[in-house]
Symmetry: C2
Subunit: 215 residues, 2 copies
Amino acid sequence: MSKPTNKKISESTIHRLSIYYRALVTLENEHYKTISSKELAKREKLTPAQVRKDLSFFGSFGTRGLGYPVAELRNRIAEILGLTRLWNVALIGVGNIGSALVSYKEFAKQGFNIKLIFDNDQRKIGSNHKGIKVSDFKDIAKLVASEKIDMAIIAVPAHTAQATADEVVAAGVKAILNFAPINLKLPAHVILRSQNMCIELEHLAFAMTNDVISD
Amino acid sequence: MSKPTNKKISESTIHRLSIYYRALVTLENEHYKTISSKELAKREKLTPAQVRKDLSFFGSFGTRGLGYPVAELRNRIAEILGLTRLWNVALIGVGNIGSALVSYKEFAKQGFNIKLIFDNDQRKIGSNHKGIKVSDFKDIAKLVASEKIDMAIIAVPAHTAQATADEVVAAGVKAILNFAPINLKLPAHVILRSQNMCIELEHLAFAMTNDVISD
DNA sequence: AATTGTGAAATTGTTCACAGCA
DNA sequence: TGCTGTGAACAATTTCACAATT
């Protein structure tokens, strides 16, 4: 029922699902009732065939001749991405990036609730960030369990990131978003995504150096 | 000379080049003189064949039986990525994320020098962030030219991002890194990369919801 | 003996093109 | 008629496997 095809959904399809989701939220605000693959593709600089292929992975949702029902499709994608529930997130490290993430409103909008903040700097422990008291990183195991934390965001310096991640995993966290610019080694059962902001700037530098022109 | 093959270097290869670069910097600090594709692959969770294919795009740098010379290879990748020069970067928007980026030390380490900061909030204009005075966004065209800005980082709220980007492009900036969670529409000659932090969390949510286990 | 460099094979991802349906 | 859903064709990327080299 929830798996109309048994083909594996690719990473790139999941990525585009996030894109569709955001587009559909916008379309809903613009009071669209339906949207065709052609129009959705145009908005997100994709091809209509790709939109249809992606959406067909989880069943027939469109109406031939008409397009896709915006609200229903947005809902369905939210279900698939796991956005119909709240996620309890722990933030590790409240330096530059960590502080920015606490205040980042998009997270809350998508159901990612930063519930705990950890640091190991005595000057920061006990202080308040957007109404959340900074806890001592030593207490992570206890608090992750009691607060039912689902995910952790690691925003500590590169040289402590691996040790930090190991402790986060030991505390029972099963999914990590890493902002430290290193490749973390974690057990296979832990889901890891990394965000390295330098890599994107390097990509710009590469493109400018090599006169890459996107057409 | 600089183009030993005429095959196009793919986006994914460029991405891995950034990864190799960082790995090689680490290896150099650990006093490695040479590194084999096997060992490099192991460190970065890739396959040896892929490492060799990627590196072969820009010539034969390895020595059969021995591996790749760490320092030389790091240098060569730096050249390819355009990291052997300084890049003048303008930051647009000094809210949560913008503030974090000004203080983010990795940027400077890789030669990305945030030289100008812009905002349109009168309370912020004139204030200091890490020794850089916040300029009025109205003056962007003049300052981009006089300060020889190469790239802009857009860190403004989603609803103003498109208008901001349009002005940044009008000011003559040819490369943009966008942190606003929308799909910017820009002329083809402008190089654009986007970083959407929600998408990564959504990926974690998807993986947890669907019991994806990376093996 | 160890490891690169690279065609060829396998796999994965994208686009085409059209039958089928509203 | 317009647009979806999808198998087949095509394109890109990754992996294999091995000759060449130190």
